[in-house]
Symmetry: C2
Subunit: 237 residues, 2 copies
DNA sequence: TCTGCAATTTTGATTAGTCAAAATCATGTT
DNA sequence: AACATGATTTTGACTAATCAAAATTGCAGA
């Protein structure tokens, strides 16, 4: 067994060393998973595939995270971020999203390609640099995909957003957020004229056809499959 | 022994996988060491202390680098970058220095604190982002310390620079470069009014006193010890 | 030539992260 | 209640990077 006998007199975890970028990634993923998949206990399978590792790896990583007090781990059911873990996750997310916005606004990259760039940068950026970027962008609250940027301190603002599958029919709405960050999907969204901020209404939803019909002012209606529709979020205007 | 028997049929090294950031750091350091310490064969001791590791670590790392064809290694004397290793080193240096300049010019950080920031960022930045930064800065050739920025392709420009110990006396000169990147030294340089670009002349050099006397237009002369003087480079105006 | 020291290399361990594959478990059928 | 099945956990191995400490070596000076 590898249950290394912790020589540190202590009974308390809380490893005050800077988290590795791998740890940051796990925490971030755990947070995102907790958000979307209503169940707040993330199963190892989900986590593993989100991280692109085999399940065993996720298990052992989560156990380590539990040892440092960042998550609670319930064997055979899943893991949940602790208060501390969540803070760290939000911090990482903040870096990620500010960097994305920076890449688009200041360096002029395309919003469909910034996700991967930010994935790297988010671990290399210091607090000081982050603050400068925040200021340079004039303290934004959402990133280029419409995802909210966690504030430096304080809770995430609760917005009333619904996917195209859940929102009201024929009500004036606006595209607020696109969940899938894959370049292909983002480009499709762009082609369909559904960028963040675009006003629209949902004309109809047909469970049988598994499709929704979207009306964007002036243009012919667009049909989306439920798959795609579930990844686009809107809010009331 | 750990002489892992290379199963790969090949007799040629050249590992086409992306170098780890540790490897990048070793190459960069090797390059810098080769530049300054005239001897182009860098001894393990030098490298180890530059990298902040024990000598044994440097030895084994260099052997690995030699296996991938990035350096040539002569046991008990030292290592030298190969053509390929040098290219990679220059690439890293280019990233480092462009990032530094970016941090100063665009984000408004102080030139004395930018070095450590860049140390992290240089490994996380993609080619595309680097190009944008390069353009945004209008293709600069020197970083905030006066160090030349290696061009994307092509050789480093050969400038005629001398340290305050080697340059002509009473000739019109300009501060071109400061070697020591420690915040303390950089702040001292700044206090003494010797920022990059400042015009000056060297009035006298006294080997006995181990000091040189610098005249900056309008101000009273400044005396520098040889230690400090050797770290400030000037070029003819 | 012989010695002694300082630099270098070896050896053996350790840590973080990972995979492959075998062992366990929890459940929803029959 | 007995199983089959799919998810989870274990085990054992491996790589990159590192350190501590012991073993080598190359020379400079007596």
């Amino acid at each position: 067994m590898t249950r290394r006998l912790d020589l540190s007199h202590s009974k308390r975890h809380h490893d005050l060393t800077m988290p590795t970028s791998t740890v940051e990634d796990y925490l971030k993923q755990l947070y995102l998973e907790q958000q979307s998949a209503s169940a707040d206990l993330v199963p190892m399978g989900k986590l593993a595939s989100a991280m692109g590792v085999v399940p065993g790896t996720a298990t052992s990583m989560v156990k380590a995270l539990a040892d440092s007090g960042l998550v609670t781990y319930e064997p055979r059911s899943g893991a949940r971020l602790t208060k501390g873990g969540e803070q760290l996750a939000l911090h990482v997310l903040r870096r990620h999203r500010l960097v994305e916005l920076f890449l688009v606004k200041i360096l002029g990259l395309d919003w469909s390609e910034v996700h991967d760039e930010a994935e790297e940068l988010e671990h290399a950026i210091s607090e000081k640099v982050l603050d400068r970027i925040d200021a340079l962008l004039d303290y934004p609250r959402v990133d280029p995909h419409g995802d909210p940027i966690p504030p430096a301190k304080g809770k995430m603002p609760g917005t009333r957003q619904f996917s195209l599958l859940d929102c009201d029919l024929n009500a004036p709405l606006r595209v607020a957020r696109v969940i899938d960050q894959g370049p292909a999907f983002l480009q499709f969204v762009h082609r369909s004229g559904l960028s963040i901020g675009t006003p629209l209404t949902v004309e109809s939803r047909d469970p049988q056809a598994a499709a929704v019909s979207i009306a964007v002012a002036g243009k012919p209606p667009v049909a989306l499959g439920t798959e795609a529709a579930s990844k686009i979020f809107v809010e009331a205007v």
